[in-house]
Amino acid sequence: MRPLTEDESKAVFTKLANYIGKNLIHLIDRQDEPYCFRLQKDRVYYVSESSMRLGISVARPNLVSLGTCFGKFSKSGKFKLHVTALDYLAQYAKYKVWIKPNGEMPFLYGNHVVKAHLGRITEDTPEHQGVVVFSMKDIPLGFGVTARSTVDTRKLDPTAIIVFHQADVGEYLRDEDTLF
């Protein structure tokens, strides 16, 4: 477990900023308790400093996880967000997409969001913007990237893809082995 290097922090923050924009500052400057990012075996964890200090006493090979896992660095140095970060993303998301109940299961099986399943979308969402996907009952289900801007979606046919799937909570079941 170690703090992120300059490059790593940059990779992580740019990725996060894609979803939560300026709200990123709320992750770093928290009112309640200081939090920090830590790297442990190529996974990035977001954890309160008090937990982190206690976690230090666990030897590196024995430490499995602490706090919330945000994602992992690939071997080529790219950062990939995991669905485990969804809690924070949903909390601070700038752009949101709500999908209808009949679209929930297809999305949770890893499919993209098509227009027919689109329930609501934040106004003025640009193209290729990271968005968090909610059910109509405001349960966060995952996140992805918009294929079209809000304006453009109006003239699309119902089978057109609106949001490219990146992660969904179904991965807790599907990818339990590779996720951690």
């Binding site: 299961m105 807790y172 951690f180």
Partner: protein, 694 residues
């Protein structure tokens, strides 16, 4: 729906001192437990039981899914009526006997039915009898006059009715005819393999019971008459037995050792034979003096019964015996029966993300039929039926609930972690209890979730993240390393690895793959772990300093003996109340072993009593190593050491310790001889040196 509702979790019985006597006292126990409860379950008409219960239960169930009920009122109301009928019977019956009785009414399981009825009709006579003599309540008192009846053999009932025969005849004539049919009804049922209780049949029975109750009320008026009636009843009972005998055509004969051998040669007995034999053995062991064959000992019956249980339910003999010894005979059978039936599916609301009411509503909309588990938990829901897989709904994936057995709520409830504490879960995978604790901490403080098995930490981590627990550190150590890795915890939960004899209904393989050695190894490991857990706790903790030890096993060597061991090894811990409102008390004495008396504060849970997995929970409080004793010890020690350092006694001690060369000489000589021999020299003859020394 009626079928499902029979799986409904019984509401926990109120915590009351229940004495479970040894099998020998079965007869008396019956009387005691009956006289304890004001109402007489056996004499009360069956309809009344059903009616009275929904009232008691209605409020809590209504509170949770009232919306759902508003939607389809008629349906759910009907369902509830049925669903509640069952727990009613469970609830009434503090002890297993009535349980069997009422089960017999409801249960449609054809395989089990004959057996139950066997107990059933036995009981009916018996309880009826005791209810009536309940007025004089101390039936073990020789002066009561009823005792002598118990000493008679079955054949001699003609003799015993002699003294009151006149009165009896009149009684019988005035009694409604239905009563005798009741007995025969049930015995018919037991003969009939289907064992079905038809509507008409039920009605008849309830009417008979009504009549009986009325008759009893009459009898209660005059005490003397009551006593006479008890005699009367007793005769009824005997007639029942006779009827049984007629139906079976031959009296029960316990196979001898040779016969059993022969049977084994033939490749094991027929299932029906085994079933019948078990039934008979239970009956005989219940009233041994009276029903046993001459010159056959109790142990022979027990042995036969255990062997039959092992073959009928598919246990190995060792485990069957081990489990059999935990309970009185009839209860043991219930336990084995309960292990064949799956426990209800339960879920725990994740209070970090959802409220139970909202969750219940959301799941009902998805076509899940559920209800709160009971009053003892406000996060549990019991699932009766679901049209969607309950482990893959969007709510599940979003972390609003966790699939978790009702029994695994208990240790966490007992531990009751408070916000801002540091908590350790020593064997945590797959994380049901860990996430429950994190939820109780409201994501403050820190939870250390440890599990030895690295592969299992994957699912643990997944669950921790899914349920949004942000204060959890997952690590993978052997639990026994723990105070070294980190100590100073406010609370520790040790859900120890165990044989799993409480969850046989989940994992049938336990029945055959556990041997004596497994139990020894496991209890050894558990003893090591519990000491580590105790040592990991910070005794100076303000609100905490607690340990909860739990297993999903029912055997004594994994539970009480481990706890007793911990109490003996660590004088600064003591047992405290678990804070659980139900459950049986832990054994303080078991088969000749006597444990610390405070082990009565621990709690046992059984599948056949509480309709949850067999479970054991003990809660310790760790106190500071008291200074007083420490000082004393130090004083004793210094008293002992100081004189050594001083003049006069020192010499004396030296004298004591010094070598005595005279005494040592033979040994020296012997060593010398050996040395010479090994060098190939010829040692001097032995007689000489010994003679010189002596």
């Amino acid at each position: 729906m009626g079928r499902r509702s029979k799986n409904k979790q019984a509401a926990p019985e109120p915590l009351e001192k229940k004495v479970w006597p040894t099998p020998k006292k079965l007869g008396k126990r019956k009387a005691d437990s009956d006289s304890d409860s004001d109402d007489k379950p056996s004499t009360r008409p069956t309809k009344k039981i059903k009616d009275s219960k929904p009232k008691a239960h209605a409020p809590d169930s209504k509170a949770v899914i009232d919306k759902a009920k508003a939607k389809d009122k008629g349906k759910s109301a009907a369902k509830k009526g049925k669903a509640l009928a069952k727990p009613a019977s469970d609830n009434d019956s503090g002890d297993g006997w009535e349980d069997v009785n009422s089960d017999g009414d409801m249960d449609k399981d054809e395989r089990l039915a004959p057996f139950r009825y066997g107990i059933d009709d036995d009981l009916e006579g018996f309880t009826g009898n005791l209810d009536e003599i309940m007025d004089d309540d101390n039936d073990d008192d020789p002066l009561a006059g009823t005792v002598q009846k118990f000493d008679f053999d079955t054949d001699q009932e003609e003799d015993e009715i002699q003294p009151v025969s006149k009165r009896k005849k009149s009684k019988q004539s005035e009694r409604p005819l239905k009563i005798i049919p009741t007995g025969s009804d049930t015995s018919d049922d037991s003969d009939d393999e289907g064992g079905r209780v038809t509507m008409a049949n039920m009605e008849a029975r309830s009417r008979a019971l009504d009549a009986k109750a009325a008759a009893e009320a009459e009898l209660d008026d005059e005490e003397f008459q009551g006593a006479a009636a008890s005699d009367d009843e007793d005769e009824d009972l005997n007639m029942d037995e006779e009827g049984d005998g007629d139906a079976d055509a031959e009296p029960f004969h316990l196979p001898t050792a040779a016969e059993r051998e022969a049977e084994k040669q033939k490749g094991g007995p027929d299932l029906m034979v085994v079933q019948r034999r078990m039934r008979e053995c239970v009956r005989v062991l219940g009233r041994f003096k009276r029903l046993a064959e001459k010159n056959r000992s109790r142990s022979e019956y027990t042995e036969q019964l255990i062997a039959d249980i092992a073959s009928y339910y598919g246990y190995n003999e060792f485990l069957a015996e081990k489990l059999f010894q935990l309970f009185p005979v009839a209860e043991a059978i219930e336990f084995f029966e309960a292990n064949e039936v799956p426990r209800p599916v339960t879920i725990r609301t994740n209070t970090l993300k959802a409220r139970r009411r909202d969750l219940a509503q959301a799941l009902v909309n998805r076509g899940v039929n559920l209800e709160p588990i009971g009053k003892w938990t406000n996060v549990g829901l019991q699932v009766f039926e679901s049209s969607v897989p309950i482990g893959a709904t969007p709510e599940y994936l979003a972390g609003h609930y966790m699939l978790q057995a009702a029994s695994s709520f208990l240790p966490v409830i007992a531990l009751s972690p408070q916000p801002d504490e540091r908590v350790l879960d020593m064997a945590s995978a797959p994380g049901g209890k860990t996430t429950h604790m994190a939820a109780l901490l409201q994501n403050t403080g820190v939870v250390f979730a440890n599990d030895t098995n690295k592969a299992r930490t994957k699912s643990l981590t997944a669950n921790v993240h899914r349920l949004g627990c942000k204060n959890v550190v997952v690590c993978s150590y052997d639990g026994r390393e723990f105070p070294k890795v980190m100590g100073g915890f406010d609370r520790v939960l040790l859900d120890a690895p165990c044989s799993g004899t409480g969850v046989i209904s989940k994992d049938q393989s336990v029945k055959v793959n556990k041997s004596e050695r497994d139990f020894t190894l496991l209890s050894h490991l558990q003893k090591q772990l519990i000491l580590c857990a105790i040592d990991s706790v910070n005794p100076d903790s303000k609100a905490g300093g607690y340990i909860v030890y739990s297993t999903c096993s029912v055997t004594v060597d994994e539970n009480e003996s481990v706890v007793d061991y911990a109490l003996r090894k660590r004088p600064n811990v003591k047992l405290v109340d678990t804070g659980l409102s139900f459950g049986r008390e832990g054994y303080t004495k078991y088969r000749g072993k006597t444990f610390h008396p405070s082990i009565g504060l621990t709690r046992r849970f059984y599948p056949h009593v509480h309709n949850m997995d067999g479970f054991y929970v003990a809660k310790f409080k760790v106190e500071k190593r008291s200074k007083a004793t420490k000082v004393d010890e130090a004083a004793v020690h210094s008293n002992f050491t100081v004189p050594l350092g001083e003049e006069a006694p020192a010499e004396k001690v030296q004298e004591d310790v010094g070598f005595d060369s005279e005494e040592d000489r033979p040994y020296l000589e012997e060593a010398k001889r050996r040395r010479m021999k090994s060098k190939g020299l010829r040692p001097p003859p032995r007689s000489k040196p010994t003679s010189t020394t002596v």
